[in-house]
Symmetry: C2
Subunit: 341 residues, 2 copies
């Protein structure tokens, strides 16, 4: 097996940085779009382990990345807890019913057996992906971070400000903590099942971290992230997008690596995380619109700046219109890079 | 006249921090909503100097803020340059035609006489506001920063990623610079007219600064911001939202004050800007959902942290559902605060 990503997370030296890309199993690949077209809608796609495992493995075959990440969605957790959602094409998720009261929070399910039973289709997708990968590269499992899941449960959709969700933090912090704890419990059970099914690395996505600030992140996010991490028996990565203000707090958690968005320079990351913490990222997905020469030069510069404790990735998921040539040029530039000895 | 804001910007000592709020002339006030309802739509509201000046002055009368800011929109500049837009209720701006080619950029108007003639309605709103203010507090004029205006001109609406606009920066930086220069020229002419009409302070809003990074901001934003600032004959404020990575570069510009979003701590701001640069901000608008005691305590803490070179404001505009009681509690807490001597 290509163990370069696991080695990096385990502190074993490698000759070059590992690379995988957020949303590598996605619209950027024509092969993905073909499989996607065969499913009725996004949710039946996610819930079909045959199709989900097929697109999980595609980027390994087609792009030669150093890891696969199971094709799924962070919103399977609210659904398993009792809050159904719809995925509306070219618009995003939408929840017909949202959390509006303490009663709504109390009625959410977070029992181990129910969560694991309801999310069995994810475990099947993991098992099938493992078979198809046949030990070529490790498989990453994932979940949304509690704050990001809470934000969706209250807003019912994406938002520029997430002011409805944030209102709870300012007005009723006790209820907010209750909700965050229930999401945390459900997530712990969910990830236990992912690891049992074969996930070899876990990444948490805190997509809406950036609407908070250091104080709020310290109170409402860090403790729950750490609770989850401590139950994981495989290497872990936390990606808190736009949470530049929280890096010092994230450095104190037990996550093996910290994902970085493109706003964060290597110098800033090292000053806040220390040089021994593994970083992951952080090229701007838009840099893949540039020509090959630009991508090569910028990649080398980025890898030099981040040094040896770094996993090459992007600062956000691939955009649907990212040119495949740019993606391939980035991966090739990382694979051609050798650490100076 | 209450000169506390002008004094702060001019380096003259004051006994307390000045306060005004972004979007203080807005839906948070029932009196605003009443005037707004009398206009056919948002754009005819902006273009009606009687109505625009009426809502400009409302927050001075009702909330007792230390400055008025002329009621207008940053998108009047693309329109004056030849790109019309519509404002769609509860959705935001939408441009029927967007910039797609060099030819589109070349056909944009930025001549002084045309820009000033087309934006005469803003100058009339300023003149009428000055009459209604009767020298009680200073009047702030404003414009969008060139990058933010460029982003709208290319995307045609708000965006989570602004990837279409950013694609120009990566793929055709020469065309991007041409567009930014034309917007800069038009903005300089526009602001010259605002100052001639009576604006006593100018704020630039770089609302989409946060999708860039330090390198991109240095190349595509700072030079144009500085070109504009150097033509201003009144004190100036730059608010680059979410551009925590650009504070060191903003510190090198001639702006008299730097607006900060709520993610930025006083400690971080001082470390990047130096303690002599005036800061403005930066309470989270969501903190106004909290109870009076919380608002009072947090306000005092914030003002203590930011010190004497600070203008109290928010880290973003007021949200339409912000409780008026919270707004009043914040203003009262700032006005009750006295610097330690």
């Amino acid at each position: 097996m290509n163990t370069i990503l696991l080695d990096k997370l385990n502190g074993i030296s490698t000759s070059r940085p590992p690379i995988w890309l957020m949303r590598q199993a996605g619209r950027v690949l024509p092969e993905y779009r073909k499989v996607r077209a065969s499913a009725k809608d996004f949710k039946s796609f996610v819930k079909n382990p045959d199709l989900a495992s097929e697109v999980t493995v595609q980027p390994v075959d087609i792009l030669g990345v150093d890891a696969a990440i199971v094709f799924s969605d962070i919103l399977v957790i609210p659904e398993a807890m009792g809050l159904d959602y719809e995925m509306i094409e070219a618009k995003g998720p939408s929840f017909p019913k949202v959390i509006e009261s303490i009663g709504d929070i109390q009625s959410l399910v977070c029992e181990r057996d129910i969560i694991q039973e309801r999310l069995d289709y994810v475990y099947q997708a993991i098992t099938q992906s493992k078979t198809k990968l046949n030990d070529r590269v490790p498989l990453i499992g994932f979940a949304g971070a509690p704050w990001t899941i809470m934000a969706y449960m209250i807003e019912g959709q994406g938002s520029k400000t997430f002011s409805k969700a944030k209102k709870w933090l300012y007005k009723d912090s006790k209820a907010a903590h209750l909700l965050l704890q229930k999401i945390t419990d459900a997530t712990i059970h969910y990830l236990e099942g992912q690891i049992a099914a074969g996930a070899q690395i876990i990444q948490l996505f805190d997509s809406w971290a950036g609407v908070l600030d250091a104080r709020m992140y310290r109170e409402f996010c860090i403790p729950y992230l750490e609770q989850i991490e401590r139950t994981l028996t495989v290497p872990s990565i936390i990606f808190a997008k736009d949470a530049w203000f929280a890096l010092e707090d994230l450095a104190t958690t037990s996550f093996d690596a910290v994902g970085l968005d493109w706003g964060i320079s290597a110098e800033y990351a090292h000053s806040k995380l220390g040089s021994s913490k593994v970083t992951q990222g952080n090229a701007d997905p838009c840099f893949l619109y540039a020509d090959e020469k630009y991508i090569q030069d910028r990649t080398r510069e980025m890898l030099r700046e981040f040094g040896t404790n770094h996993i090459a990735n992007l600062g956000h998921g691939l955009y649907p219109d990212t040119p495949l040539d740019g993606v391939k040029a980035y991966i090739a530039a990382v694979k051609a890079y050798q650490y100076e000895v």
